[in-house]
Symmetry: C2
Subunit: 190 residues, 2 copies
């Protein structure tokens, strides 16, 4: 997706060979118009499928997932990273390790909002080692839902998450796939 | 906002005299079409103002704030509840106590995304005791930004947050204002 790649090149900050900061439009400040374009691109990529539920994880997955939901008219469910007092029981749960934050969270989704009747598309902002997506897949499998595939805004293709998912036969669509962050430069695949 | 009130009456679950659960469309599952309507309603309420920045807090404020941003073409900044390794310095911070979750979080916003030039509208999903909004106001004041007002999806008007803010001269627009949750029934003001 050229618009996204241009934005990454213009505003992304390479902090190391593995860390790209895109806080100006995705992870802290959000560019709503770009999010709408991203939602439309996900809808186009998966236009051959009927999606009944979009599954993402708080917080940075919510904006792109909600814009996709607006385009295709499907509800979004975001997995929570901690249990709150009003969301205590009746949960699917899984464990997710974040290398960026160096912590392991239990993520959970209410059983009320995922069922065996659902065709689920998983959306997330970044795909690196694939930990978050694996947790969301685990939750979808607990619900016996049908997982159509995964939509990622920015894949770090030099890390193993995308490869591991694709080797399992899972469809992964990344709107920007980064080949390298070496020497402070963003290089994309293709 | 009648559409929102109808949705609350249809899908909201009154868990006690103070707790209303709207996990089916706002706090866990998100209804993107309703969020778009909510964004348009906030835009209408504040159509007399020029908004340069929408300030909210993760996670449930993100969807309505981003839809407002789409309608008016303004960026959204969401305050984070914990520091991450990629968002460590250069922050405005404040403390927010959540009565629902019974915990105090430090919330923070990067200094890169709020400035004295900004006309800020604060958006949040719920207003009860006003703790989250007070934290966001504190952050906007640290940035010396101009706060236009506050937009709330659901105000619990029987709690004191809204009154305290309005007594300070802060404009608060709530799309649904709840008078009482007694006897398991949702009763609105007006």
């Amino acid at each position: 997706m050229q618009l996204l790649k241009d934005k990454i090149l213009k505003e992304g900050r390479v902090l190391s060979d593995t860390v790209l900061k895109v806080d100006s439009f995705l992870n802290h400040q959000i560019d709503p118009l770009l999010m709408k374009e991203i939602g439309e691109e996900f809808a186009n990529r998966y236009s051959d499928e009927v999606i009944t539920k979009i599954l993402t994880i708080e917080s940075s997955g919510i904006a792109p997932a909600t814009m996709l939901g607006l385009v295709i008219g499907a509800p979004v469910v975001f997995a929570r990273k901690r249990k709150s007092l009003t969301l205590a029981d009746n949960l699917y749960s899984s464990k997710v390790h974040s290398f960026t934050k160096n912590e392991t969270n239990e993520i959970s989704v209410s059983r009320d909002f995922l069922s065996p009747d659902d065709n689920v598309l998983i959306i997330d902002d970044f795909l690196a080692n694939g930990e978050a997506v694996k947790g969301l897949l685990d939750i979808a499998q607990q619900a016996e839902a049908n997982v159509i595939g995964v939509g990622i805004v920015i894949e770090k293709g030099f890390q193993q998450g995308g490869q591991l998912l694709r080797e399992q036969g899972i469809r992964v669509e990344s709107l920007a796939n980064i080949k390298s962050l070496a020497n402070g430069q963003v290089e994309f695949f293709d």
